[in-house]
Amino acid sequence: MTAFILRRLGVLGVILFGSSFILYNIAAISGDPTADLRLSTDPNRDFLIASLTRELQLDVPPPLRYFLWLKGVLGIFVGNPNFGMGRDGSAVVDSLALALPVTLRLVAAATLLAAILGIMIGIVTALRQYSRFDYSMTFIAFLLFSLPVFWVAVLLKEYLAISFNNFLREPQIPMRWIIGIGLISGLFWASVIGGSRKTFWTAFAVAFAASSSLVAIFGATGWLLNPSLGPIVVLLLSIGIAFGVTQLSVGLINKAALRASLTMAGLSVVAYYPVNWVFDNYPGSLSIFLMACVLITTAVFIGLAFSKIDRAPIVRTTIITAILSASLVIVDKYMQTWKPYMQTDAINYRPVPTVGQRNDLLDSSDFWISSLDVITHLFLPTLALTLIGFAGYIRFARGTLLEVLNQDYIRTARAKGLSERTVIMRHAFRNTMIPMATILVADFAGVVGGAFITESVFAWSGMGTLALQGIRSQDLNLLMGVFFITATMAVLANFVADLLYSALDPRIRVGSGA
């Protein structure tokens, strides 16, 4: 195994070397950094050209200059990487260090969201193969595939951000919206649940009534201006989560699991006030992290306390319930922050921003307000990237699950009388997740490329903006720095995906043959 990993890392090094060599030469040949100086009428033009040539070592031909660049980059191994100087005289490393977290935040949020939504919808389409739901989701997936990301981004800016901000000034939800949202959610849930005509219409009616009355209540109570869940709603939702998670993971028939997760859901409400007290008095990532640790330990103990046999699945169920209901408490905290956030001078009741990755005018002393600011800024770009990205996940999850459902072991599982839930969740879903996990990792790197356009539409100062700036100003070092980071990430991600695949799928053995 170690030999395999070392060999693969060696290959990765060769690939990085080759691709950066190719790009360096292409970029060096296609752009002359002194071009704009040559055209200038500056009296000391020749001096400027000479100094730039000396600084960027332009007198060395590109294939050789590459090695000078490489020498600096290889300093990474001694902890002193040198990506060269940019045209503006600043070290490229510093610009990269500023830009990388911005892009990573965007890409991580978008990939995660796209994967979760895409896999869920893909699985439902596979289970309802050839239904109307399947056909309409397939159509939507193809439509999203074909959308240019810049076009979607501009649309989102216009309709979601500006119109929504205008709407928030006077949040009266008109009747046609209430009915429209109700119809859409009714159709969605009814087709997801499927079944006979009677079930379909019952589901439709329930979903329609529930969502349109919810929307109407939101509109009537001004909830959008001052949203909150409150302990009672948190409790109800947590109980719902406990039932849902138990049903999906071990089945409601497992009373021990149900009791454990219900207790966990109850606990999260008991903890509601103390936790909010901690949130208010000791805000910060550290206290959230510590509380998450406490939460998971509690969940493990509760799971162990309620179970006698078959402990692992029950503990797992309890942990999932705990995490979900604790996130409800955090969501509730953010909802309480919403009103003070909107009242700040920097926001002034226009909370959905269209440009930038943070609001510089905002007084960032309050942890909750400043992190809410980051979240609202993430909202539109993430949505744009997610919309484009999750089409692929729908198709892929659907295809994989259908393939798995055709396998013999699924037929065996059905034949020995396992419930449909066990067959789908235990046998089919887990095997679907093996290729999905590897795709997810590899996709994470691919989205970095896709984020270039999104960043430029939303004026984020991330890696994409740096790369475009590097190309526009013929800044070879800047461009190569961005490329080197993204390419390393892509190559490493593929490597991790391979390892993950072999770890998840016992049929694949690395190291023995390869």
Binding site: I26, E158, I162
Partner: protein, 362 residues
């Protein structure tokens, strides 16, 4: 739950019947005929094919163009992108100018009647007819797409088949090179090339971009060749004395053509999105030339006041890319030998009655 398992039992029972129906359908047909038949059964794919053909014909006949640079062939549309007709004032919503005159609302419903009007897609800020501009942009985008696609496909098939067929050192060298190229995000290399060579014209840009679009396809073709070259029919051909060239072109390629065609359609839809994205960020087609992405980037600021300048180019990009994706889906189904069509209830009943009748006759 019970419903589902019952259905699966049912489907195993009727499997032999389904096979019989499927086999009957393809009896006595050549491979091409089977593929064509399956393709035309895919409704979405056929609709997309028609849409794409209509868009292509519309875009390429709307404007004047010069045949071999000498003869001027007049287009059917009354304006060209260079014309500067008067801006339409008045009767536009919100006091804007140059709004679209296209209308689908019949007169008796209070609309302007179904018709195109003088400027169906409206006018831009200096009065140029936007329909003519969009048609010109569509022409550009489609030709860039076709050039990138054909160069990418040719190179990909050549490299992939050489690597897959000859294996060994050639394969290792070529595939390492592909590894190198695939690591470079296409948007970066496209921008680098586009920034430098975009002003040399769309065709030249497309040619260059095509040189970098073949890598994914070549990997796929190589994989296909590696598996096909081990099959018996290749051995048989070799024993019969066929040359390598003959084996590649007559025996292996026809068997790989399904995979190739499907991924070429993906390459095409990727190419149009790449071109429009590059033009949007200013590294693709540059003014005074027109492309769909360029139109969007030029007029996105006027979105709030004159949204049609933004909608129509986007609509054309989406229609083209969507049609190609659906055609690709149809082709994938058509070429897939394992593909099973859903047998309709009626057909199932028909075959059951036929079976019963046959038994009764016995």
């Amino acid at each position: 739950m019970a419903r589902k398992s019952k259905a699966s039992v049912e489907s195993t029972e009727v499997l032999s019947g389904e096979n019989a129906i499927q086999n009957k359908e393809i009896e006595g047909l050549s491979q091409g005929q089977i593929v064509r038949k399956r393709f035309f059964r895919h409704r979405a794919a056929v609709i997309s094919l028609v849409t794409l053909i209509v868009i292509v014909i519309m875009a390429f006949t709307a404007l004047d163009f010069r045949l071999f640079g000498i003869w001027r062939v007049p287009g059917w549309w009354r304006w060209t992108p260079e014309d500067l007709p008067e801006l339409r004032f008045g009767d536009c919503p919100n006091d804007t100018v140059g709004c679209p005159t296209i209308s689908f609302m019949p007169k008796f419903l209070g609309g302007h009647g179904i018709g195109l009007g003088r400027h169906p897609f409206g006018q831009d800020d200096i009065g140029r007819d936007f329909f003519a501009l969009v048609m010109k942009g569509t022409q550009r985008s489609i030709s860039v797409m076709v050039i990138i696609g054909s160069i990418g496909a040719t190179l990909g098939v050549i490299v992939g088949s050489i690597a897959g067929f000859y294996r060994g050192r050639i394969d290792a060298i070529l595939m390492r090179f592909v590894d190198f190229m695939i690591t470079i995000p296409v948007i970066i290399i496209g921008s680098v090339i586009g920034y430098r060579y975009g002003n040399l014209g769309a065709t030249f840009l497309a040619l260059l971009l095509g040189l970098f679009a073949w890598t994914g396809l070549s990997r796929l073709v190589r994989g296909e060749f590696l598996s096909l070259r081990e099959r018996e029919f290749v051995d048989a051909a070799r024993v019969a004395g066929a040359t390598n060239k003959r084996i590649i072109f007559k025996h292996i390629l026809p068997n790989a053509v399904g995979v190739i065609i499907v991924s070429v359609t993906l390459l095409l839809s990727g190419a149009i999105l790449l071109e429009t994205a590059l033009s949007y960020i200013g590294f693709g087609v540059v003014p005074p030339d027109v492309s769909l992405g360029l139109l969007i980037s030029q007029y996105q600021d006027s979105f709030t006041t004159r949204p049609w300048l933004f909608w129509y180019p986007g609509l054309f990009i989406i229609s083209i890319a969507l049609s190609i994706n659906f055609i690709g889906d149809g082709l994938r189904d058509a070429f897939d030998p394992r593909q099973r069509r859903r047998i309709s209830k009626k057909e199932r009943q028909d075959s059951a009655t036929a079976k019963k009748l046959a038994q009764a006759n016995d």
